[in-house]
């Protein structure tokens, strides 16, 4: 896990010569399933750099918001614009690490190689990527036999292998041991420092404090507060966010 390796990972858009897809503008987003309203007029603006942590109670719609921004599902109404592009047009320039990693029925190395190959990336980076997430010694092992923390690190390596401009992470460290949590946080922080725009959903307030440049609090179908971390944590303005940070049950 050398930090030297990190500098050659995840080149940002500017280096590739494409126009960046930030900032993000989400306007009046609605998402309904029949009678059940998940998102109800959500607005959100994300600046060009940093790590945004999305927080909010269970079932608030955090996972679905990530999928909407990534172009995996369509909203009932509203507009999502990545500097003018609709989400589906930029899906391939982003990566999403799902809460439960979906790994191929192949070895660890083959899982990564598959992405490098299909996405036309430099396959010589395979070793460096494995090393970067601390899985070099597991290269030849079946991916679906990895522990929870290892599987999530492989999913993260796969996401980085696509050289994304935006990296979504959906509770990537839920139910992992503390050492795995810190390893994953360090890799994500390095990507952020390299210019990858990170959007992280987290239930873990400690993690949010460590990772967030800004926090978006999702409650009852809207972003009720979006503020820099330095303002949000000491003094959240939204009452639900205050309750949430104090450890009270928020529904």
């Amino acid at each position: 896990m050398s930090d030297v390796a990190a500098t050659s990972l995840a080149p940002v858009a500017a280096e590739r010569g494409a126009a960046p897809i930030m900032p993000l503008s989400v306007r009046d987003l609605h998402l309904r399933f029949g009678d059940s309203v998940v998102l109800d007029g959500l607005d959100l603006e994300l600046g060009p750099a940093g790590c945004t942590v999305v927080m909010g109670p269970n079932g608030a719609g955090k996972s679905l918001l990530l999928k909407l921004m990534h172009g995996l599902i369509q909203p009932t109404s509203g507009r999502i614009s990545w500097d003018g592009h609709p989400p589906a047009a930029v899906t391939a320039r982003q990566a999403l690490v799902f809460q439960k990693p979906v790994l191929l029925r192949r070895t660890v190395a083959a899982n990564l190689d598959f992405v490098l190959k299909t996405r036309g990336r430099d396959r010589a980076r395979l070793g460096k990527l494995l090393d970067h997430v601390g899985l070099a010694h597991k290269a030849g092992q079946p991916a679906r036999r990895l522990s929870g923390g290892e599987a999530q690190r492989l999913a993260l390596a796969r996401a980085l292998a696509t050289e994304p401009e935006v990296l979504f992470l959906d509770e990537p460290t839920a139910s992992l041991d503390p050492a795995s949590v810190l390893t994953i946080e360090r890799i994500v922080a390095q990507a952020r420092d390299r210019g990858v725009r990170v959007v992280l959903v987290s239930h873990d307030i400690g993690q949010a404090r460590r990772m967030a440049d800004d926090v978006a609090f999702l409650y009852r179908g809207r972003v009720t507060e979006h503020a820099p971390a330095a303002e949000f944590f000491p003094e959240p303005r939204c009452p639900a966010a205050r309750d949430y940070l104090n450890g009270n049950v928020v529904v």
């Binding site: 995996l72 899906t91 979906v102 029925r105 598959f114 299909t118």
Partner: protein, 235 residues
Amino acid sequence: MQGMGEALSLALQMVWSGDADLLEIVLLSLRVSLSATLVALLIGLPLGALVAISRFRGRNLVLIVMNALMGLPPVVVGLVVYLHFSRSGPLGFLGLLYTPTAMIVAQTILIAPIVAALSRQVLEDLHAEYAEQFRSLGLSKVQSVQALLWDARYSLLTVGLAGFGRAVAEVGAVIIVGGNIDHLTRVMTTAIALETSKGDLSFALALGIILLVIALGVNAAVQSVRMSAARMSYV
């Protein structure tokens, strides 16, 4: 008419000594049924994959038809192929009636739907698991299908086996389009039927034993491959 015990000991002798007639029939059987399985896989797998990952109007009807075709009666398939290949049939000019090729065609028609329907089920389940991840990775449809086929490889092995098992054991289709001609189109099942009716039980039994061993052997091999794949969570 021989006694049961005498027939069995003669049969075992024949198998053990590698009787030339016996060997010829076994090899032709394998050639025909393996060829049919291969062609059925080439037709059935892409078809199964296509239906597995596509949503279109009338899809349910296609599924019903696919599943129904799994139970095609061999004699009916044989009859239809016969009508096409017979001298006055539309494909009569090919001169394929009573040749191994006609038998391969008939068995292919018989088992391609089995391959398509079973692989559709396997690939659809796997696709449900992978689809969102694949879309997130920005994979093309072709790339997705290739990855699905590869990741389902051990399940598809069983699908291929089901097809081969049906082909090698059926008698109705090959006897109609092959004609059970000695040294030309006589396979295990048709020979067993003929020799039994002639009363040469030892020859029929010898073939029956081999057929059984082939079926059990292939099954056992596939099972052991699948078990070691399962140990690596590849199934």
